[in-house]
Symmetry: C2
Subunit: 376 residues, 2 copies
């Protein structure tokens, strides 16, 4: 919440910082995407955004751009860090630069450090204005916020379907339901997640590559896109060595059950870019909650589920979804085609209630983004 | 197409005539909805729209509003009639009134009279400007155009569903999927059709009244809403005498098969407001094509299908749909719930392709209006 008075110029500068933050979302995870603008006397004298992990934070990038930041106003989308991490504390750099005021959109969501950066700035006599464009800043970092506060990856489920809610023919035939515009859009969504999860049935039926085929230039960003790793839920370890998923860039994780057959099979996959995670299970299914916990340990802060009705249904049933992105093609497939979610709900009051967050035409398709209702 | 030059004033006046035409759609069928504005020296001197069948056409209404239409410009959304029907030819009245120019949005689609009204006006020395706002005028009268050119009623199918394409639980439980806003919107759609078709399963399961419960004031129209008749597709004549549909205003048509049992049962329903139509069939189903032909003979120019997956699927399978209106509620019902269309399509290339015509938020729901693609 903005408690102090801000000018339209301040709004404009923070909006600029927000735009810079957006440039970081494809390269900075598991760090938050942050943008920073430094101004003096109505002129921008420096700007920057979070570089890939291990490199500069936004504030350092912006300060490095300035010749003389003394007495300047700083606009930053997230509370500057006060701890000495891989890159040195940003608060320390701002204090050393003798800036006058710091506008901050949102407090660091990490409860362990939250507020400490602001306190450090205030202790050094720097004015702090908090809350400008907070909602937008939170939205950009919604995946990071969940990861840092709950220790679990953000889960987006993506589905392409006909308007009667069918994702493939009974035979499994499904290429291509949606238009090329929607498929290009899915590329952007993939690029903004740390991992893509699919099921073994999808691998065996469609043999998808699940890779990101867009260039940073297409996204108007300068840092390389951090390719999401690909996770296959494969209880029996049935994936063939020839699957396309192994032939594309980036790591593949096989989530399988702890068993003799699986242990044996894993030896064949002892390649550089394949990791096997073994799980115990009471029902012959890889436990999705445990899988997400394991992925969190690997610093995977967000996952995109691109799977069939069974696996997608398990995510719904497990109350694990944060965002549902549906691409509806203006087509009717009929009732023998495959459903969106395998999910037996008997009573109408037991349905999963969602809120529509965004509605867009993409080519001839309609993209709808939903969030599950709170009591889900 | 507009071949002559028109002014912005002309556009404004025709737009006014279009708005007047829209006021007639709930009361004028099976006649077309027409609006008329008469102007002299930049001032509106008369206006009118089609009154209920047997009453004045728009032009006569507008002329009756004028004290002196001599030398005036007339804006009318459909070619004035030249035949003497129940209300006298409009061209004759315009000629007698000695108007100077007539702007017409679209030619009368009836191939038997099309162009004759324009010719009559020209023969009398009146200037005619054709095609102004033709597309909008055609859209308002799309139901009439189909009826008059093809001799078959326009067919709209309305479905309320969850985003995973489910219209009810497995048990049939379905109240209420969509929000009150969507249900109010359905009232308007019902009011703009001449008949509502449903299936016996829906009657037995939901016992809907299928009536129009809005007042003309809610629609900002002055004439009474012509209540659509209610048609039940009921091969075995299983409808109970106690069905709610019989207790509401307006005619009920039972479409059943020609059989001894049905003939017997029909005697019980020999009430004033119930009509029974008997059909021959090779597969124990009422033939939908024949039903629509019979309804056309009864001057029913448009039907709204509000039914379950079986009957709705038959309309899709029979290539009978002109417009599909879907209300999607932001909910997930799961795969054991009932489908939108019972329609076995085996091959992905055999899907029914649609074009999205309109997309709107209604309350928490999303309304999508589709037209089937041409080769359907």
């Amino acid at each position: 919440m903005v408690s102090e008075t801000v000018s339209t110029f301040d709004c404009e500068m923070m909006s600029k910082a927000i735009q810079l933050a957006q440039k970081a979302i494809y390269s900075c995870p598991p760090n938050p995407a942050v943008g920073c603008v430094i101004c003096r006397e109505g002129e921008i004298i420096g700007e920057g955004y979070t570089r890939p992990t291990g490199n500069n934070h936004a504030e350092i990038e912006a300060l490095m751009n300035c010749s003389n930041p003394k007495g300047a106003d700083v606009y930053v989308t997230l509370e500057p860090c006060s701890h000495i991490g891989r890159t040195g504390a940003c608060t320390k750099a701002l204090i050393k630069a003798q800036v006058k005021r710091v506008f901050i959109s949102m407090i660091d969501p990490n409860p362990l450090v939250s507020g400490k950066g602001i306190q450090a700035l205030k202790d050094a006599g720097i004015d702090v204005v908090l809350g400008l464009m907070e909602e937008t800043a939170r939205s950009i970092n919604r995946k990071f916020i969940k990861f840092i506060t709950e220790g679990k990856p953000w889960v987006t489920v993506k589905i392409a379907a006909s308007i009667d809610g069918r994702t493939a023919m009974e035979s499994g035939e499904s290429k291509w339901i949606t238009s090329s515009g929607s498929r290009a859009d899915v590329q952007k969504i993939r690029a903004s997640h740390s991992a893509i999860i699919t099921g073994i049935k999808t691998i065996l039926m469609d043999d998808p590559s699940l890779d990101v085929r867009i260039d940073p230039e297409d996204l108007q960003v300068s840092d390389p896109i951090k390719k999401p790793c690909k996770v296959v839920v494969d209880s029996n370890f049935s994936i063939p060595n020839s699957a396309k998923i192994f032939k594309t860039e980036g790591e593949v994780i096989i989530a399988t059950l702890r068993g003799k057959q699986q242990m044996e099979k894993s030896k064949i996959f002892s390649k550089n870019n394949v990791k096997v995670l073994f799980f115990d299970s009471s029902n012959d299914q890889v436990p999705i909650h445990d899988l997400l916990d394991e992925l969190a340990k690997l610093k995977i802060s967000s996952v995109l589920v691109e799977a069939g009705a069974t696996l997608t249904g398990s995510f719904v049933a497990g109350s694990l979804i944060d965002e549902l992105v549906c691409y509806f093609a203006p087509k009717i497939f009929g009732d023998s085609a495959l459903p969106m979610f395998k999910l037996p709900i008997k009573n109408i009051d037991s349905h999963l209630a969602l809120s529509l967050k965004e509605l867009r035409h993409i080519g001839s398709d309609i993209r709808m983004t939903f969030a599950p209702d709170k009591d889900y």
